[in-house]
């Protein structure tokens, strides 16, 4: 069975937004939208679920502060509680102010780096990754909406032409 998609290309983000809303209203399934820059409100118009990256970051931060606390408690208090310049190494809480800068930094470090790595993994980004541009112009000044064709090719083409697309292409995908 052939796997055809439609590439509707726009050259204005306002027109694209309108087209997205119309496409959604007409119940055509949008596979993907390619834009050269973030279009404010596009994710909402497409009905994409909100990101949970912030929740991940919060949890990573919690891991970071736990690592910092466990590490310093073991090294400074449990393993070798030396008297260094009169600092009270009797319990963690007594010497805690001295540990706070590290606790803070490690919280931020874990939250930031693990969140970024999560982002890369979830969006499948890595070095030597093959680019997935359907049309080179989409990184410069064109916007492209990809919609799957079932058996309504004619209808879809005319629909997208009516939404202000500068170009409508039917592509065979493998």
């Amino acid at each position: 069975m052939s796997n055809k998609v439609i590439y509707a290309i726009y050259n204005d983000d306002d027109i694209l937004m309108d087209a997205v809303k119309k496409t959604r209203a007409a119940h055509h399934h949008i596979e993907e939208v390619f834009t050269p820059f973030p279009v404010h409100g596009l994710d909402k118009a497409m009905g994409i679920a909100p990101t949970r990256l912030a929740i991940c970051a919060f949890l990573y931060g919690c891991i970071g502060i736990s690592v910092a606390t466990a590490m310093m408690n073991y090294i400074m208090i449990q393993d070798w509680p030396q008297d260094i310049g009169g600092k009270p190494s009797f319990s963690y809480i007594e010497n805690m102010p001295a540990f706070v800068p590290i606790m803070f930094e490690l919280t931020v470090f874990f939250a930031a780096h693990l969140m970024v790595i999560t982002f890369y993994m979830r969006s499948k980004l890595w070095p030597f990754k093959e680019a997935e541009n359907p049309d080179v112009r989409t990184t410069d000044d064109h916007f492209l909406m990809e919609v799957a064709v079932k058996d309504n090719e004619e209808e879809l083409v005319s629909f997208f032409q009516s939404t202000g697309a500068v170009e409508v292409k039917v592509i065979e995908k493998h």
Binding site: G86, P88, F90, I93, E94, P97, A98, V100
Partner: protein, 488 residues
């Protein structure tokens, strides 16, 4: 136009009436002379001691009656700043507050003979001053807190003007309403300062010529800490701030009727000048009105620390008043995005406050220089719960609640967080002022609560009366359209 609901007006009068009664009771029940203190202390050390003292300083470890009077010997060790968390009994705490005095006494005991009676009389006199200070200090904390909250709003307002913020112009009238408390609060506050100068209380010990005569450290600061200079500074600061409030509001109203942006530009320049004036005067204000309570102690980032405390309280107040007015249907153009922005500021500046709180604390704790560290020794030993409780209320709670984007748009979450932040920063001011004025005699009782109620009532009455005077939406502000359609 906003109409002051009669219920709220009655409520504010009720608060003021209750406050006046409580404040009056506080002054009436303060001991008048040494004899009263003597009977009080006698009652405390026999029988009722455990209960009464335990109530007043919950933070301190369990009271051990048998150890009660043996503690003065170990006081010197207790006050050694090496270990900040001591399990001292409340009795030890009483003593260690006067650690310097007692250290002296203990030393003299070795060589000279100091009669028990002199020591006892000195102790009684000390406690008398603390107890007499209590209603004054309670009044002072509430008075300066509410005045500085409106000052915090004023500085936020000036920043919004100068930054040409596109989101906040719909809230300008709310901010102007809140800052109209500033002139009223300033007058009350200035009167309190005058009364301090007239020696009606012992809030500022450097105002007492007898103390200055025997205290070299204070005497050396007399070039700065003397009553005429101090009160003139206060007058200049309070007048300067109130003048900015007055003219800024006047220009804003004139801009409504104008045909060009002249008044807007005037306000812009005025706000920029105010911010320069403000940051200088704010710093000096914090030395004059708060740091000079402990005239032996100094800290360089104190001005910023005080600023961050009342700034975040001011923003929280804006948010709460806005939420109230919005819930009554008076702020048509304020949407959840505006609220969200205010909540972000509440969150951000709560963390800023913590940053400064910790920076000041950690630097002094780490270096542990005796002349600086006594400030924190007093607070941690005598004010353990309020001292660390303020960090929980002003940092941990807002951090966990307001970190969530969705929560920043939910009214009841914000009201709850705002209430905790405001109470937390009242306690912050309490922690700054009480240890130097009443020492271990602190208690959040009738005087303290009544003073807060009185000023809260006055605040509500003045603010909401001012809000009825002018429309709640500026008409011709260049950013008003953007602000109406602001969404995030």
């Amino acid at each position: 136009m906003y109409t002051f609901s009669s219920k709220l007006k009655t409520f504010s009068f009720l608060l003021m009436a209750m406050g006046v009664l409580g404040i009056g009771y506080g002054f009436w029940s303060a001991p008048k002379d040494i004899q009263e203190v003597e009977t009080l202390l006698a009652a405390e050390s026999h029988g009722s001691h455990g209960e009464v003292k335990h109530e007043t300083s919950k933070s301190v470890g369990a009271y051990d009656a048998s150890k009660g009077h043996e503690e003065s010997q170990s006081t010197k060790e207790e006050s050694n700043p090496k270990v900040l968390h001591t399990n001292s009994t409340s009795e030890a705490v009483t003593e260690s507050h006067e650690s310097s005095l007692h250290a002296e006494v203990a030393e003299k005991k070795g060589g000279h003979e100091i009669s028990e009676e002199t020591e006892h009389a000195e102790h009684l006199n000390h406690v008398l001053h603390q107890l007499q200070n209590k209603p004054w200090a309670a009044f002072y904390v509430a008075c300066i807190f509410f005045m500085l909250v409106s000052l915090g709003v004023l500085s936020f307002y000036a920043i919004q003007q100068v930054a040409q913020a596109g989101w906040s112009p719909v809230l300008f009238r709310v901010m102007q309403g809140i800052t109209s408390y500033l002139p009223v609060g300033s007058v009350v506050f200035f009167i309190v300062l005058l009364l301090c100068g007239l020696h009606l209380n012992h809030l500022f010990i450097w105002l007492d010529p007898e103390v200055v005569a025997t205290d070299k450290l204070i005497a050396n600061k007399a070039g700065y800490l003397n009553f005429p200079f101090w009160i003139v500074r206060a007058a200049i600061f309070l007048t300067g701030w109130s003048l900015y409030h007055y003219y800024s509001r006047k220009n804003c109203l004139a801009q409504d009727e104008a045909s060009d942006d002249l008044f807007y530009k005037k306000n812009f320049k005025l706000s920029a000048m105010f911010l320069v004036f403000f940051i200088v005067t704010e710093s000096i204000m914090s030395w004059d009105w708060i740091m000079s309570i402990d005239p032996h102690w100094f800290s360089t980032l104190f001005g910023w620390y005080v600023f961050s405390s009342f700034f975040v309280s001011g923003i929280t107040t804006i948010a709460l008043v806005t939420l109230y007015l919005k819930s009554r249907g008076f702020l048509e153009h304020v949407n959840t995005s505006h609220i969200h922005d205010l909540a972000k500021f509440m969150f951000g500046f709560s963390i800023f406050w913590t940053y400064l709180w910790f920076s000041q604390y950690m630097l002094i704790w780490y270096a542990n220089i005796p002349e600086e560290v006594t400030y924190y020794i007093t607070r941690i030993e005598l004010y353990n719960l309020p001292f660390f409780g303020a960090v929980v209320m002003n940092f941990v709670f807002p951090l966990l609640i307001l970190v969530n984007t969705d929560f920043k748009r939910i009214t009841w979450v914000l009201v709850m967080a705002g209430a905790v932040i405001l109470v937390g920063h009242y306690i912050d001011f309490f922690n700054m002022i009480m240890p130097g004025t009443v020492g271990d005699r602190w208690f959040i009782g009738v005087s303290e609560i009544a003073s807060v109620l009185f000023f809260l009532g006055l605040f509500i009455y003045v603010v909401f009366t001012a809000l009825t005077k002018v429309p709640l939406l500026p008409k011709r502000n260049p950013f008003i359209e953007e602000s109406k359609h602001f969404h995030y």
